[in-house]
């Protein structure tokens, strides 16, 4: 196995890694960096459990070659909020009982974050679209959709106050 260097930003910190050529970002995050918040559900890009944010957009880390992350800005669930704090989406998923087994939760939250970053006032259909690549087998999606809408509402409130 050949190894190549990759420099990227991971959860706001500079990361320099040697990765095996042809290996995926998913493998780098889990097997090399111990960031287990990114889940492996299918290795085929069909379940969304491995979703991470690259340069502001959701990406499937199982289909992303690690060495192509050179110079990119990668966010995983571990980087969503400062230690000890919760992002409004995390709080809304908790309050809304939107997680059961929890395996899809990291991908769901990151997919939702990409939506809310672009569109702070989404419709239900836009929320549905945002998580359309993420499989959940436990919840029936309804609590997840509700939690994302709740989080969006909560995130808009302070902005309105300022305005």
């Amino acid at each position: 196995m050949t190894k190549v260097p990759v420099e990227f930003t991971l959860n706001t910190r500079e990361q320099n890694e040697f990765v095996e050529t042809g290996s995926t970002l998913l493998s780098a995050l889990r097997d090399r960096l111990g960031l287990y918040g990114t889940k492996a559900g299918c290795h085929q890009g069909t379940c969304g459990a491995c979703t991470v944010i690259i340069d502001g957009e959701p990406h499937l880390s199982c289909l992303t070659l690690a060495e192509r992350c050179q110079g990119k800005d990668v966010t995983t669930l571990e980087g969503l909020a400062p230690a000890g704090a919760l992002h409004p989406l995390q709080q809304a998923f908790m309050d809304g009982f939107a997680a059961q087994c929890g395996f899809c939760t990291p991908g769901m939250i990151l997919a939702a974050k990409c939506l809310l970053d672009r569109n702070p006032d989404p419709t239900r259909d836009e929320v549905v679209d945002a998580i359309s690549g993420n499989i959940c087998r436990c919840t029936g999606y309804e609590p997840i959709i509700a939690a994302i809408l709740t989080a969006a509402q909560g995130m808009r409130k302070p902005a309105r106050k300022r305005a």
């Binding site: 196995m1 050949t2 190549v4 050529t21 042809g22 995926t24 290795h43 085929q44 890009g45 969304g48 979703t51 690259i54 957009e57 959701p58 990406h59 499937l60 199982c62 289909l63 992303t64 070659l65 060495e67 192509r68 997919a111 990409c114 939506l115 259909d125 549905v128 679209d129 945002a130 998580i131 359309s132 690549g133 993420n134």
Partner: protein
């Protein structure tokens, strides 16, 4: 298994790598899935440094670089007519990765953007190692396997006049799944008569195909329920759909006319 990855510095150098078994990796949604299944050793080549991720719209002519993603199309205000197409492909993560160039090679029941580009009579610019060539998309699709050895540079087409482009993708899971039937159509009218109608079908053959018999039925006629119904009967005449996990060939043939009628009558 060993995988190597290199970034092409010029499009003309790509076919030589391909000739030795190398493969272009665009968004990676198809090829990395294959690698994860355990593909053999392969030299991957990216087009990341070639500036193929540009969208140009000039005088009604649209040029999409091969590396333009579905998400980029879906965000471009100049390409509103293509937004429903781009947004019907995968979830947002797939759209952020999957490219126009890659979609040209997606096997059925994938390849919805290609069906749309087929109705737009797009022209594919590719580099064969010696020179760039331009091929009509239909010719390109007919030789798709062979042309995997060339480097797709861009896809160009004339933006359709307002209201003439129609698109529907029938799915088994909402909002998105692979296609049961995809129908894209450009139905221009001149002096109240249909002129140069183009209809393409996705998931109705190994790759996107034109429905020429249905097109012919529309040609020169006034768009109305009767003529739509007549064309609908011919919509799957040239199709050779497959059975798969989503639907049978029978079902695809049965519902293609229904959705064609709904698409144009709407």
């Amino acid at each position: 298994m060993s995988v190597t990855l290199s970034a092409a510095k010029q499009a003309r150098l790509v076919p030589a790598v391909q000739a030795k078994g190398g493969r272009i990796i665009a968004g990676g949604t198809l090829i990395v899935a294959d690698l994860n299944y355990g593909a053999d050793s392969v030299a991957l080549i990216t087009l990341d440094r070639l500036g193929f991720d540009k969208i140009a719209v000039k005088g009604g002519k649209v040029t999409l670089g091969a590396m333009v993603t579905m998400a980029a199309v879906a965000r471009d205000r100049r390409l509103k007519f293509l937004h429903p197409v781009a947004n019907s492909i995968g979830g947002p993560a797939v759209r952020a990765m999957a490219t126009i160039g890659g979609n040209l090679f997606a096997p059925a029941p994938y390849g919805d953007m290609t069906a749309a580009l087929l109705t737009l009579d797009a022209e594919i610019t590719l580099h064969d190692g010696k020179a760039t060539r331009k091929l009509p998309i239909e010719t390109f699709l007919a030789q798709r396997r062979k042309l995997q050895k060339h480097c797709v540079v861009s896809i160009s087409f004339a933006a359709p006049s307002a209201g003439t482009f129609h698109y529907v993708k029938v799915v088994r899971r909402k909002p998105v799944s692979a296609s049961v039937v995809t129908i894209a159509a450009v139905i221009p009218q001149k002096a109240g008569k249909i002129k140069d109608a183009r209809i393409a079908l996705g998931a109705m053959a190994a790759n996107a195909i034109r429905a020429r018999k249905a097109e012919a039925a529309l040609e020169g006629r006034k768009l109305g329920n009767d003529i739509i119904a007549t064309a609908a009967k011919l919509i799957a005449a040239e199709a050779s759909p497959a059975d798969d996990a989503y639907a049978t060939a029978w079902y695809r043939r049965e519902i293609a006319p229904v959705h064609f009628v709904r698409l144009l009558a709407a």
